[in-house]
Symmetry: C2
Subunit: 400 residues, 2 copies
């Protein structure tokens, strides 16, 4: 029966079978030390003489589990015999045996199928998976319902820019920039909803923080007073994600304060109508790992944003900064039909399906969106979100 | 403080506040009975005289919780005062007060934003959400890792047909028909992976079982013997989904047998190379709610399908039928690079990124995909999967 690498030490004295990839090999006098990589980690196998198999050969290895203080996990496989399941047709273009890949990012991305096999590379995506599980658990516990909404849409959700256009049975359609309009509609049905899924932005610039397609964690909630209520849900979601990463991966995440501090946009010392990346870094230096900036100027927030009562040049909106970068954007939305008609300046035709919800009674509500790749990048200290995206998409990259 | 409708009976004798939508009203002599709908259900409110508010008005209602055997949940709100949060601008186009909506399916779909508010309509999507949670829980427990792979791709994944074409920064790209190639690649990284996400098929036909966009529950697993190993994971996933629906919704799902029966395609009595809908119905009549059909003819399975050893006219593939309809398709895949080169007939250029994984060593593996909307339709007895899709997309329907 197959055992995993991390289970080897519970089978000392038994003959067992490992299965995985030949990660690396090293000859030392009359014996060879082979590391076999499986989904759980690495196991050391000791064989007499040289071993002809090449790195990334898929093998089953039968042998005797023996305590060995110097081996990963404190035990190794001896008296081993290899059975080859599949052989590589050429040597891998990245050197997986190194503790950290030394290839450049473009090389790593071009050869993602094999580069992702590196233990440190794949750990980033286990952190992402743990984060998703924590997000869902936190919101499920608060009575949210998971929804699946269409990605092929008839009109823009955010602005008319950055839209991917599509041939939909002979007529034009677009890829959804966000599930914004649908998640708001679903507040009318379930009050509290979330969706995890791809969103699409035809970003003309190549930066380390934007992609043409990314995974958005969206939530929306009804019967709120204002955006400060939404911020309490953001805090719960993020704390749930951090806890899940800690539990599953043992990665120490900066503790999420019970109340994340906040500062109004007008008190940030920013002269413009939005934060620049340098502002985000400075604010976190001043205030700590976690900071809400609230009350963004209406000039830079989408049409559905609720104005700040009495000061319509500001909005009931917020960003959450984490370690010097915006990872969440959200706020209170308009909820009255006539406010939408006014905000859209009469162009209600292309939003007819969306406006239905508001025609028939919607409570005060708000929500937020968190970019998974940015979150993971912040956690692992990656400078470029391409490092925390399995197969990134940008202006120049459409494959693999 | 707000209480939910289902919590009312725990507050008898107290003054509490409900919040929700005015679902229906009925005058009876000197009093009116109002049903208020919130995310948990319906609560009865009794007021003196007539009530002017229209259906779907969003309200907060303060009053005294009183036991009342004839009310939903065994209690009602008396001495009530209403506060209006938002008013509908016109009467809803569907009559939500009826036990079952009596409008036609096109009318319901055209007015989804409000039709989905009906308790029976929204219950279908709570069943879908519970199913997703059960799928993930079952596979997480088996060591699978959740992945997010791109939906904008450079080439077809299934066949060249049914592809949506996209303008990607001035060059052609396509919407992914499935995460097939990426989930196989990720077997090389994590051995066991799953993804829940949208898939896109430019289906030219309008049937009750096809959509242009649907939610696919995909899984892939390495180090298998053959497709029968994959079928054991399908069984675990489906049993987890059924259990979760039962737990969350109290809906009795037909018990999933510990071993789901199977029949080889050649023993189905089908003359063609694939099952027709009528065959699926007949086979379930003969064999029960759950049935695997294995060994489909290679003529109708995609290029990556592993042939049946010794009989290459058949494949190591399967469909799972549930209550007379295919809900899962899967099988063992090719895993050797040279087998892919042969299967693609030399057209390896457009699959270069995909073939990387196989160049550098892949174990025997297989996987499956389950369509969420079909699954839910089977559970609730819906004839058309548009009834179990929030905002369906087909040849003629692009909004809402």
């Amino acid at each position: 029966m197959r055992v995993l690498s991390r289970e080897l030490s519970s089978h000392v004295g038994e003959r067992v079978t490992l299965a995985g990839w030949l990660h690396s090999k090293r000859e030392l006098g009359a014996v060879s030390f082979v590391l076999v990589r499986d989904r759980a980690g690495l196991a050391q196998v000791v064989v007499d003489g040289a071993i002809e198999l090449q790195p990334e050969t898929v093998v089953e290895v039968e042998g005797l589990a023996v305590s060995a203080a110097q081996a990963p996990g404190g035990s190794e496989l001896q008296e081993a015999s290899f059975r080859v399941l599949a052989e590589p047709v050429e040597p891998p273009p990245v050197e997986l045996r190194r503790p950290v890949l030394k290839e450049t990012l473009p090389t790593i991305l071009d050869h993602a199928a094999v580069a992702l096999r590196h233990p440190r590379e794949r750990a980033k995506f286990q952190i992402a998976a743990a984060s998703l599980a924590g997000f869902r658990k936190a919101l499920d516990g608060l009575g949210f319902v998971e929804i699946s909404t269409p990605k092929i849409v008839a009109s823009a959700t955010e602005t008319g820019a950055n839209l991917f256009k599509l041939d939909y049975f002979g007529r034009p359609a677009f890829l959804a920039q966000s599930p914004q309009l649908y998640k708001q509609t679903m507040v009318g049905v379930f009050e509290r909803v979330y969706e995890v899924g791809p969103v699409f932005r035809a970003e003309p610039h190549e930066t380390g923080r934007h992609l043409a397609e990314y995974t958005s964690l969206d939530a929306e909630v009804g019967f709120i007073r204002d955006h400060f209520d939404v911020m309490t849900y953001v805090r719960e979601a993020v704390a749930g994600m951090a806890e899940s990463v800690d539990e599953r991966m043992g990665l120490a995440v900066p503790e999420v304060p019970a109340e994340i501090p906040w500062v109004h946009f007008e008190d940030t010392g920013v002269d413009d109508v939005d934060l620049a990346p340098a502002d985000e870094r400075r604010l976190c230096e001043e205030h700590g790992d976690w900071l809400f900036v609230t009350g963004f100027p209406s000039a830079k927030r989408p049409f559905y944003t609720h104005p700040e009562p009495g000061r319509p040049e500001y909005t009931n909106s917020f960003d959450l900064l984490f370690r010097g970068m915006e990872i969440v954007s959200g706020g209170q939305r308009l909820h009255r039909y006539e406010d939408y008609v006014a905000a859209l300046g009469g162009d209600t035709e292309s939003y007819e399906g969306y406006l239905q919800a508001f025609k028939y009674g919607m409570p005060p509500h708000g929500g937020f969106a968190l970019g998974l790749e940015r979150w993971t990048a912040r956690l692992v200290g990656a400078k470029n979100i391409r490092e925390t995206t399995l197969f990134p998409r940008d202006r120049s990259r459409l494959s693999p």
